[in-house]
């Protein structure tokens, strides 16, 4: 019994790390632009599908998993540079543009990759680590590691790196930042690209563990957003923990309700946070930045 419980906790933490990574993308974009990227879930699926196609073309797994997010990020940078920068100042229109983007991406995913769910076959398939009787897949370990690396990187980025400080400055007081010679659109673009990079990376990490279909993005996005808002949208790095908490709750709930209702749990958490404490539970009481 205890072992099942621990196994459940672990698988919850693994899934939760994915939600967390996607959630970080939401927070970073929200921090810089005040908007929510509704296409974030689609970016995750697109990242995974690109990687699947790359490995299908006989490229090595690791290469595919790294190249796919980068390609996608470059695409987003172009998109931002050409179109989104025009509405970067107006959160509402930026949100509508990302809603539109999610519709288009979903159609493209369906057109190019079909209706059936697909997975990424990784070289670690079936390889597990046995720690005191607990089974932990290498692919699962990679997911957790990915989330932790993202956490540490972000912590460093926002507190130490000049660009991170500048991004924070733009969010806090846009006009003073402009008067200090910072171009807000640049940082908004960087945030957008970075958010999609994390989303695509999360997609690549989850694809070996669970199959994705063209419309998986909606639910993945919602859960990512739930993680982000649970942690507080103003603290991007903490979304990782928000996600892990959410994943664990989700997998424990299966003990009490039929597994089909599992997805409802994250959504209910989302609604509770939105209505009770939209500034998040892990944000330490600080007023939101944007």
């Amino acid at each position: 019994m205890i072992e099942t419980l621990i196994q459940l906790l672990i698988s919850g933490a693994v899934l939760g790390s994915i939600y967390g990574l996607i959630g970080v993308g939401f927070s970073v974009v929200h921090t810089a632009t005040g908007a929510i990227n509704f296409a974030q879930g689609e970016f995750a699926v697109l990242g995974a599908f690109l990687a699947i196609s790359l490995t299908g073309a006989d490229l090595p797994h690791f290469f595919a998993v790294i190249i796919s997010p980068i390609v996608l990020t470059l695409f987003v940078v172009l998109l931002f540079r050409i179109f989104l920068t025009r509405v970067a100042d107006d959160a509402l229109y930026l949100v509508v543009a990302t809603i539109a983007l999610s519709l288009m991406l979903k159609t493209l995913l369906l057109y190019f990759w079909g209706r059936e769910p697909i997975g990424l076959s990784s070289p670690f398939q079936g390889k597990t680590l046995n720690i005191a009787g607990l089974m932990l897949g290498y692919d699962q370990l990679l997911i957790i590691a990915g989330a932790l690396i993202a956490y540490i990187f972000l912590l460093f980025f926002f507190s130490k790196h000049p660009a991170g400080k500048a991004m924070k400055a733009v969010v806090e007081e846009k006009e003073i930042a402009m008067a200090s010679g910072l171009n807000p659109a640049l940082y908004q673009g960087v945030a957008f690209a970075f958010g999609s990079l994390l989303g695509a990376f999360a997609g690549c990490l989850v694809a070996p563990v669970s199959m994705l279909s063209y419309n998986s993005g909606g639910l993945l996005g919602l859960k990512g957003f739930a993680s982000a808002i649970f942690a507080g949208l103003d603290r991007p790095e903490r979304a990782v923990f928000g996600g892990i908490i959410l994943g664990v709750i989700e997998s424990l709930v299966v003990l009490f309700v039929p597994s089909g209702f599992k997805d409802v749990v994250a959504l209910i958490v989302l609604l509770i946070v939105l209505t009770l404490k939209p500034e998040g539970f892990l944000s330490g009481g600080r007023k939101r930045l944007a």
Binding site: P162, K165, A166, A169, A179, S180, L182
Partner: protein
């Protein structure tokens, strides 16, 4: 150095500044006076390149037409602007506030360090607070930090909107003395919007009184101090 020619500035249909012209010379302090809603803040925003307002007319700086430049392109040329009310990045530490002020110099590490050092000499109180979050500073310290931040990029002209607002008289006195020092020692030009007319006239070389968007009275500050018309506008409306 800075020249404004025939500036009109609008918020939607409302014309907040009407046909305003101004010349600022090196090392000169110009005070813009006037009651609320006279268009002073709009003028400062226009010099900084912020929108709104939507502007017409020309702003020339050192022979270059900067009318259509974005705010973040103006600092590099030597124009620093401190907007009304917003002074610091509240969530960043004092050191990081200063760092952002010198962001455009971040690749020239030595210069940046020297400049930070020199503003800390101007405002020693900031040195003791370097690692504190800016939001916990007092109002006066925040204003000093704002000025310090604006000075790091060594601008040629500094535009301030109501630097004395909400501060005690002693702090205001200290800030104005520092501004006076900067003008004398470094040849900094200053455009100053100020509610406190007596204070502004005392420290400035030249004053302009604005009423509903237009220049009403202008002249050397020394002469204006005794001008009855000024008193009338302030007291009689």
């Amino acid at each position: 150095m800075l020249e404004i020619k025939g500036l009109n500035a609008y918020y939607g249909h409302i014309k907040a500044v009407k046909d305003f012209s101004l010349r600022v010379k090196k090392g000169e302090i110009i005070a813009i006076l006037g009651p609320n809603g006279a268009g002073k803040t709009t003028l400062i925003r226009s010099i900084g390149g912020f929108s709104p307002p939507y502007t017409e007319g020309e702003i020339i700086f050192n022979g270059k037409n900067i009318t259509r430049l974005k705010p973040f392109e103006r600092l590099g040329l030597g124009i620093a602007v401190l907007l009304e009310g917003k002074r610091v990045f509240p969530g960043l530490s004092v050191a990081d506030n200063l760092f952002i002020g010198g962001y455009t110099l971040r690749r020239r590490k030595k210069e940046l360090k020297e400049n930070i050092e020199s503003v800390l000499e101007l405002f020693p109180v900031l040195r003791e607070r370097l690692n504190k979050r800016a939001s916990v500073l007092s109002g006066g310290e925040q204003q000093m930090l704002a000025i310090a931040r604006a000075l790091i990029s060594s601008p040629e002209i500094l535009c301030l909107d109501e630097p004395s607002f909400g501060l005690g008289p002693k702090v205001v006195e200290a800030i104005f003395k520092t501004l006076d020092y900067l003008r004398k020692e470094r040849g900094l030009s200053i455009v100053l919007v100020e509610q406190d007319a007596a204070l502004a006239l005392k420290f400035s070389d030249y004053s302009i009184l604005m009423v509903s968007g237009s220049k009403k009275i202008e002249g050397r500050s020394k002469e204006l101090i005794n001008d009855k018309r000024l008193l009338n506008i302030y007291l009689g409306g």
